[in-house]
Homo-oligomer: 358 residues x 2
């Protein structure tokens, strides 16, 4: 009559139901209960319905930790993003979330990493919590990745160039987008100045290269900026003060273009009549300001969704499907709005109101 083998004899009250409870209630073994619940293996319709009934009766919800431990899958994908400005962030998450949810996957999010060490820590801390990773970060490089990713983990990169071992990746084609914008601005032999982004930034270098090549290799006036609205404002002031002004300005991103536009406005000049202007990114502000801003941009949400799909392909059975593939280039779409609508005849009334026909 040794009555104390179990440490805690009376737990039943207010404890969440386990699969053993369900099995007992349905009068089957745990194995059958598990099979019935997951619809795998062979189970009679009779036992299946008995188990399901017991499960709903007991409000049974499988413990996901136990399940992951046994199956080695988490049904979760990790998302690593840099400290992004509003719209880009919400759009890419919207795309990722939509695509993930439709496949029953959860999202483990980590954003705003100041440096490579923080990004590495984030990657490491996600190990074992996710089945795959979507990484968009200027701070990762092949070292960070291989050091912190245990070999098997599938990963998809967005706008992050890593040398060394190739991973599936998506890259916005900054070069193509910039040439498209500059060709548009330069139509009819107009001179085009450039407000450049930070030289250390790959995207700003690519956009500048596009600018240069669109002008046949001969750069016009180039002012240094840092992607902030303030730096665009300063550049705009500088240009307004020139005696010999360019016909048009290509800013390396929309924020600087907006700053520049404001500077010109403060100097009493209006775009496009006095000087035309275009940016890059197509942030939502671009169509809301007056004059609305010509720019080039991509469908960010779609990009996020595609990244998830790509990741899932690689989570599946055979690892390393698209192994030594080139990064997939996403070409931005040129969006012409008021700020470069030189010719009134071509300005539709919808454009005048800053609305797009889409």
């Amino acid at each position: 009559m040794n009555a104390a083998p179990r440490p805690n004899p009376l737990v039943p009250p207010s404890r969440t139901a386990t699969i053993r409870d369900v099995a007992r209630a349905a009068n089957v073994s745990v194995a059958s209960a598990s099979r019935a619940i997951n619809g795998l293996g062979s189970v009679t319709e009779a036992t299946r319905s008995r188990v399901v009934a017991a499960a709903t009766e007991l409000r049974y919800v499988p413990n996901s930790a136990a399940r992951s431990l046994a199956t080695r899958r988490t049904e979760t994908i990790g998302v690593l993003l840099p400290d992004l400005y509003g719209e880009f962030f919400s759009e890419i998450i919207r795309g990722i979330d939509g695509s993930a949810r439709s496949r029953g996957l959860h999202l483990l999010l980590s954003n705003s990493h100041g440096d490579a060490a923080e990004a590495a820590a984030a990657i490491r801390s996600m190990r074992g919590r996710v089945d795959g990773l979507i990484v968009m970060s200027p701070h990762v490089d092949s070292t960070v990745l291989s050091e912190n990713l245990l070999s098997g983990m599938p990963i998809v990169l967005i706008n992050s160039v890593v040398t060394g071992k190739p991973h599936p990746a998506f890259l916005v084609d900054n070069y193509a987008g910039a040439t498209a914008v500059v060709r548009h601005l330069a139509e009819g032999g107009r001179t085009v100045a450039h407000i450049a982004g930070p030289p250390a930034n790959l995207e700003s270098r690519e956009r500048r290269r596009g600018y240069r090549d669109a002008l046949g290799g001969h750069e016009g006036l180039v002012l240094q900026g840092d992607f902030s609205e303030e730096s665009g404002y300063r550049a705009g002031c500088a240009i307004a003060a020139l005696s010999d002004r360019p016909d048009a300005i290509f800013a390396a991103n929309d924020m600087m273009a907006i700053g520049c536009l404001n500077a010109l406005a403060d100097a009493g000049m209006v775009a496009p009549d006095d000087i035309a202007l275009a940016g890059f990114d197509d942030i939502p502000l671009s169509r809301l300001i007056r004059p609305s801003l010509t720019t080039a941009g991509i469908d960010i949400a779609k990009l996020g969704g595609r990244a998830v799909e790509r990741l899932i392909e690689n989570i599946g059975p055979g690892p390393d499907i698209h192994f030594d593939e080139q990064p997939e280039l996403i070409e931005p779409r040129l969006v012409v709005r008021q700020s470069s609508a030189w010719n009134n005849a071509t300005r539709t009334s919808a454009e005048k109101r800053g609305r797009e026909t889409q």
Copy 2:
């Protein structure tokens, strides 16, 4: 010499290290290894360092599923958000993420729920994956919550009113914000019109109530909008067409204010000289457009951070700490910018450039 008790005798190659491997390498028991790694219980410095050395040597990373299974904690908080527009979304996530990360917590995110059923599904699917929930959703109500939340799970609500059992909650004080804006616009006896948000929306009702009370209970001209820029534009056109125009307009949010501003501009009127204007939310666009927009808003990131802190208090030992407490009201701050700067004398040059001194 029975050599086949283990099902898979040769797994060592490319298998991730477990705590037993570490224990073996450090020549201690798994219990000591666990204690050394977690810094709990008492362990000699000597064994601790041996274990740590072995762990780094083997690149050991604890399996989080196993850990959660044993400890019943996931070190993760779930975040449920509605389909939010850019800036609000990224700011609140920034605040939540920063606060969570500094405490070593992960974020499981789920956004864009179309209806109550989807929100309920999201809550249910997070069960067992998170230690607590931050919910901001117009779709939850007490039924959804009590049905899908097993009693113990801590939760913090943001801008969601649920009747019934009280939960810790934060609420933006739309009424107070609106009265502040309207009092400012009405200074000197000026007449103020209102562009209202969708009547079904609680926030727009509260803002309208603030508008009415700030005018002593007597509403002026009220136009119906739906929070979109388009509806603001239409309202602006309607006002521009009036023969007897109000001195100022209070739009129930910034997007409608911007639309209205554009409509007035298209009609050849400039704010604030012809008509003053203010919005609500203080989205970043508000200080970037010309004229920059007077508005009222809260520090969204801070709100997110505080929600996390509040949640953590309730995750701790004693459940239901702040049980029957009132929701915490967050009072928006009035931000006066160009669009209501009637008097040139009070307009600083910094404001003219649309920059704030903060």
